[in-house]
Symmetry: C2
Subunit: 412 residues, 2 copies
Amino acid sequence: MDYSKYFSADVPSFLRSPVREIFRKVDLSAICSFAGGYPAAVTFPLADIPGLAEKVLGRYGTKALQYGATQGVPELREVIAKRYGVPVSQVQITTSSQQGIDVCSRVFLDPGDVVLAENPVYLGALQSFRAYRARVQEISAVSARHSEHASCHSERSEESPVKFIYVIPDFNNPSGKTMTLQERQEIVRIARELDCLIVEDSPYRELRYSGEPVTTIRELAPERTLQLGSFSKIFAPGFRLGWIIGPEELLEQIYICKQCLDLCPPVFDQYLAAEFMGSGMLDANLQKSIAEYRRRRDLMVSLLEKYMPAGVSWTDPEGGLFLWLTLPPALDTVALYDKALSAGVAYVAGSFFYTDGSHRNTMRLNFSFVDEAKMEPGIKLLAALVREAAAAADATADATADAAAAAAEGGR
Amino acid sequence: MDYSKYFSADVPSFLRSPVREIFRKVDLSAICSFAGGYPAAVTFPLADIPGLAEKVLGRYGTKALQYGATQGVPELREVIAKRYGVPVSQVQITTSSQQGIDVCSRVFLDPGDVVLAENPVYLGALQSFRAYRARVQEISAVSARHSEHASCHSERSEESPVKFIYVIPDFNNPSGKTMTLQERQEIVRIARELDCLIVEDSPYRELRYSGEPVTTIRELAPERTLQLGSFSKIFAPGFRLGWIIGPEELLEQIYICKQCLDLCPPVFDQYLAAEFMGSGMLDANLQKSIAEYRRRRDLMVSLLEKYMPAGVSWTDPEGGLFLWLTLPPALDTVALYDKALSAGVAYVAGSFFYTDGSHRNTMRLNFSFVDEAKMEPGIKLLAALVREAAAAADATADATADAAAAAAEGGR
């Protein structure tokens, strides 16, 4: 039976996540994977869960198992509001911060609309924007520190309004970069100039290992910013909980939309999260997670320094879960991938995160999930592959140069 | 700040749920509410949850707190596949069966497309179809038993393809009706004739209190049916878990779409559900729930018989959570609603479930959620309001008749 004719016109724009496809096909536990974006299992408060569950069931009884409010249970909205210094009315709970991205796409985007984003951009966001047939264009404010002048990309046509700017200002996925205050102010300036909204995706903000926190974009422009938060990296991703902080007028439409999406977020999990955050357990656990991740980041950076050949560079992130690696321009991480997988090491090719599929000499490396014991052999293996590919590229370049020289001689 | 210009062209089609709006404004615990669609809290396996949680955490450890597969955890897909006699590859877990409806809308519907549905239709489905700007048209197969001939509604234009037929064949929400085998065969015949899909929404099927199960539409037409299941009425709605059973080619696109929606369903909750269903605890609990609900249904029917005036009729459902009440044609349940709320009783006006807002003399009554002790005073109160409204309508009719007679006399 041919099912193609039943599908919506959006379906051809659906983009498979190359990261999730890797998980689907390869048993990552058997190899050294720097591919995923998973938090370290040791950071999960496993031992606390039975006690939390008991407390929640004792306090709320069957209410914890019943349907709940579409906005989220009041107890969770209250602890989030308190933690981030906003009124409860400006907090909407989401069933994961991916749902936060999707509901923003659903409420704001029409086919042909433009989203301005950093390049490279988080894949889950790119998937969501594309699935609504929006066009994702690069915002160059972030690269301003290199070019010394910040300006909005000028390819937009008048018929395609920019609905919002999408950014991960803290410890970007995939690049690992953190925006300076000046860059954030520049994002706000552009948003005000274009009169568009800002979606500030903030899943890693609490995971800072060095340096000082920078003011959030929401604080700079609360009137036009929807800030997405997540419990996945500060509690556990298995609970699928996130939140949106934003102006009430925008949350009102998101609330109505969310009725269609899933009626309400998981109720039992919300009470667990409220208890975990409200009781101070979250902060205690966060301190341990930060120490753990700082050690892993430092280990990966030192291993890259030890093993990677000249011509390879990487970001040294102040937080989050990712490093961004740039190889010599002649190398191709997409082409290298199958070889790496066979050798027993996985990464995500950087070009997947570029709206135009460029930057094929880059890759994203995750340092949070892989066992520390596997990290050294993994990086060593990856470095050997890079070295080998670089040598092959040099040989090709030499052969090309020889051929060119021969051709030049023949022409003389 | 005026936010209206940022919204998608879909937003004006977003429909607030009148049911959820009632919950938002009124403390239902203070009154007698027949309005919601909540299952009875006494049916939740509250005492089993700590043991289930312990088992899950002991068996899966941090895996239960980590991200999971987009299709759902294999353990849950397997128990569902086994229970319903389908291959695991034909099972996709959803974050609530409302998400099942939404993802089907997202994957199949474009603005202007037609969904054929029973009238009255489940509000959450109507909200979702309308939010994608699809047109919902009545399928008359269901009313065939009255008209003695079944045919597809003929208002469709050639430019608006029917993408799917949406039905709740077992214990319909809101009508409480169950389709006969002939009606189900007729749905399949129409779907094959129009060459469209069928979304068989099946959240209540396991809650049968009398009569014999009828073959599902999925069994009649597996090649074109997506059957939606839910844990909300057989486990607990607070976990937000459902599933879709359908052809692999359709589930494949739903899987890609679901990556954007929330990456994966709640993992911890899925393991709890898998253990609950797989261990036989679900079936034991279901027997208790069925006995409980049967008693409540019988009580409500007997109370309606006892208190309702002549001219009021109702369905006597074989299962599910709802009764459908029809008042004399002159009465208006929308107009009556505020009075009822002030008097201390809530229901949902039937016209909210009609695509054209008609049938203002009907209402949906839920018999699962309200305390049994409140049921008699609640129905008594409602009957008094109906009686009063009927008397007022009769008086108006008499006055109109008198005026007509007077006018006739005057004209003589």
